[in-house]
Amino acid sequence: MIRPRRGQLPRVALLAFLALALVAAACSSGSTTAESVILVSAAASLTNAFAEIETAFEVANPGVDVVLNLGGSSVLREQILEGAPADVFASADVTNMNLVVSGGVADSPQVFATNQLQIAVPLGNPGDVTGIADLADEQLLVGLCASGVPCGDLAGEALKRAGVAAAVDTHEPNVKALLTKVESGDLDAGVVYVTDVAGSEAVTGIDIPASANVTAGYPIAATTGGDNPDGAAAFVAFVLSADGQAILARHGFGTP
Amino acid sequence: MNSGLDAHLVAGRENGFTVDVRLEVAPGHTAALLGPNGAGKSTVVSVLAGLMPLDAGQISLDGRALDDPARSLFVPPEERGIGVVFQDYVLFPHLTVSENVAFGLRSRKVPRHEAADRAAQWLERLGLAGMGDRKPRDLSGGQAQRVALARALIAEPLLLLLDEPLAALDATTRVELRRTLDDHLEHFAGPRLLITHDPTEAFLLADQVHVMEDGAVTQVGTADDIRLRPRTPYIADLAGSNLVEGTASNGIVATTTHDLHVGDTHIAGTVLATIHPRAISIHRHQPEGSPRNTWETAVIRIEHYGDRVRLQTGDPLALTAEITPNAVEALALVEGASVWVSIKATEIGVEAD
């Protein structure tokens, strides 16, 4: 056994204490009574709507803490498949949800909202964008979501339907990142969701004609491996309820 | 106009003390700045070389001002023409010996071939032929110091400044190199300034010795001046050792006037005998017993330094002896008194000259 010399004892004790403290901190973050926390992994485009839903749900269910994990649906899908803790998954497209379901981590998804695409331009429309055809202009800085991210796949689909070969300058990893760059004026245009434009005060929306536009169905499901299945079920129910649906509608989402 | 070095150095040191020293060295002459560590010698090197500015005073070399704070004049080191030989050689470790020596020439845009040739000549002159391709780390102390000397001399400086050139060497190498140095100093036309803490070095290599203590010069003079008439206890101490030249053979060192019995029976040839003042016993009458070196002489001078007394003795071998005031009283010594000197053979240090 290694026996520390006398002078080293305080130092060794301090190190041991720090190590224990770290371990305790790490454990404790997961040990608050499971029934009071609901982990919700939701697509980035749901940021504003779900923030309001979170507040409403917590008010209606005191003592419950909803924790939102927002990101690109494909990233969230990977996280959940690899075993990241989540009680609920709300995806921006059916593809990612299906992957999670076929991975055995969720079941009985239900579509709770729909969304459509819109072109976001910074206030004042510095790039003079009038329609989807302008996205082919090399001079403009155009952004899309990366393929694999629902917003990106849908945008690709819409462009194909419109017969436009966009001169893309960047594929952002999620729609919020894309929106931020349009808001700041670093991009002239970005293809985002209608709800994103509605929720932002720094962008204007340019419509995509119905013939080209795509409708995304947002499915939600409780995961099978979560720590709080009851909480998950309650949350899903709330989202599907009249109250939840009203909040979604206020943010620009369509009905399922 | 080759008027040599004329400097009044006033500069502050890191620990707060100021150095205030006047130095004049004529071309063809060697001056030594002799002092203990902490006396301010390295400051002197720094300001002369231009690595540090003066606070006051001035430096002029061959009539050209190098540093004059009053006139806001400062010539940077690369334009001073002062060749420095540093204490730990400071050879460039990433260059070969030849490249080291040629450095000063190459810095003056001398073409590579010519510089290399001249470097080779100097290496040969210093007994280092064929070592041009070695790296400094492969050299012995003595070799490295010779390379440093060549490197400084090849640039034909106006002043040669040697900073403790022999300090980092062992005793044997030191003696060897002292001879080499002596030779090359002789051949250097300009003024030379030797900075050292070793009195032997100063006395043997310099025409004039400036003793420096605590930032100021406490005595200037020839080696004899310093040795025989020290002005401060420090000088008395270090200069105190009597140095006598002679020829050794079979344990006897024959000087011009007297033969000394020494302990070393093997050494032969020209030697330097050193006798510490405290090793000399003074008696009123011829002493009995073992010391083999005894002779009668007269007290030329008595000087008191606090609790020490220095006696100057006369023919046949003038020596400085150190005794206590009590002894002076007990022996009733006065200048002119007749005394007997005795020195043990083993107390006489002998080294080859």
Binding site: I2, G72, S74, V75, E78, L141, G143, A146, S147, G148, V149, V168, D169, T170, H171, E172, P173, K181, S184, G185, D186, L187 | A49, G50, L51, P76, P77, E78, E79, R80, G81, I82, G83, V84, F86, V90, F92, P93, H94, F103, G104, R106, S107, R108, R151, A152, A155
Partner: protein
């Protein structure tokens, strides 16, 4: 030396057992993820994957960005290190802190800051755009800028450290021999810090190669223009796992090769 003497010597210089065990754990931190990557590799599809456009584009951009960032870091970083080490100016500690900042702040924050400064509406970017129409974000130059921002501190700090440790007497000796300031720099100072400079270059290049956050935030992500290997891996993870693995393997292979080969040759003093 006898075998026994060598054996005793070796045993005596070995660290205590506990240290060896912990060292093994330390080694595992590096080896295990690599093993995971190798286990996941689709070896049979690999040749075909490696020849895909997305791979070639990402590799080209990574090399351009990392080498470009290293070059720029050297050209302006070494002078900066010289000034920091040699010139005593007021506020020097603050400047040194600024230089270290990219090491401490999250790269994404760095990227955002670059956008605020050099984006089309940025403090410097706006007038630049007005005057020249030049847009730095979403361009390959944008990648180089973002990469330089995060990697240059490594070079500056390494070189500054080496300069401070350099015995000033060498430069003094050179000056006394008639060398002007440029000559001293060229023939004495820089050659004498060469090993540290090389180590700094290597660290800088390695950091540049791995840069992700600042790049994706400032330069965006577009295959062939701004999508370096790390960005390509990130995106591929969501759509095509096999390609992601192939790209990762390339990064690991390049990095390992360079680090092992060059470290042996150059990392003498460190």
């Amino acid at each position: 030396m006898t075998d026994r003497a060598a054996e005793v010597r070796r045993k005596a210089s070995r660290p205590p057992a506990l240290v060896m065990v912990l060292a093994l754990a330390g080694l595992a931190v590096f080896v295990v993820p690599l093993l995971g990557l190798l286990a996941r590799t689709p070896w049979q599809d690999l040749p075909q994957l490696l020849t895909e456009d997305v791979v070639a584009d990402a590799l080209r951009l990574s090399l351009i960005a990392s080498l470009g960032a290293t070059a720029i870091s050297t050209v302006i970083g070494v002078p900066l290190a010289l000034v920091l080490a040699r010139v005593d100016f007021p506020g020097r500690p603050i400047v040194r802190g600024l230089v270290l900042l990219p090491l401490v702040i999250p790269p994404v924050v760095g990227g955002a800051a670059l956008l605020f400064a050099l984006g089309r509406r940025g403090v410097i970017g706006a007038p630049l755009y007005e005057a020249t129409g030049l847009v730095l974000p979403f361009s390959t130059w944008g990648v180089i800028i973002a990469t330089t921002f995060v990697a240059m501190p490594f070079l500056v700090i390494t070189v500054e450290g080496a300069l401070r440790n350099l015995d000033p007497r060498f430069e003094g000796a050179a000056a006394s021999l008639g060398a002007g300031r440029w000559t001293v720099l060229r023939r004495v100072t820089l050659p004498m810090i060469a090993p540290s400079l090389a180590a700094g270059l290597l660290l800088t290049w390695a950091r540049a190669l791995g840069e992700f956050g600042a790049t994706i935030t400032f330069a965006g992500n577009l295959q062939g223009r701004t999508q370096t290997l790390p960005l390509a891996v990130f995106v591929a993870l969501e759509s095509d796992r096999d390609t992601a693995v192939a790209l990762s393997l390339i990064m690991v292979a390049i990095s390992l090769t360079v680090l092992v080969v060059l470290r042996e040759r150059w990392w003498r003093s460190g």
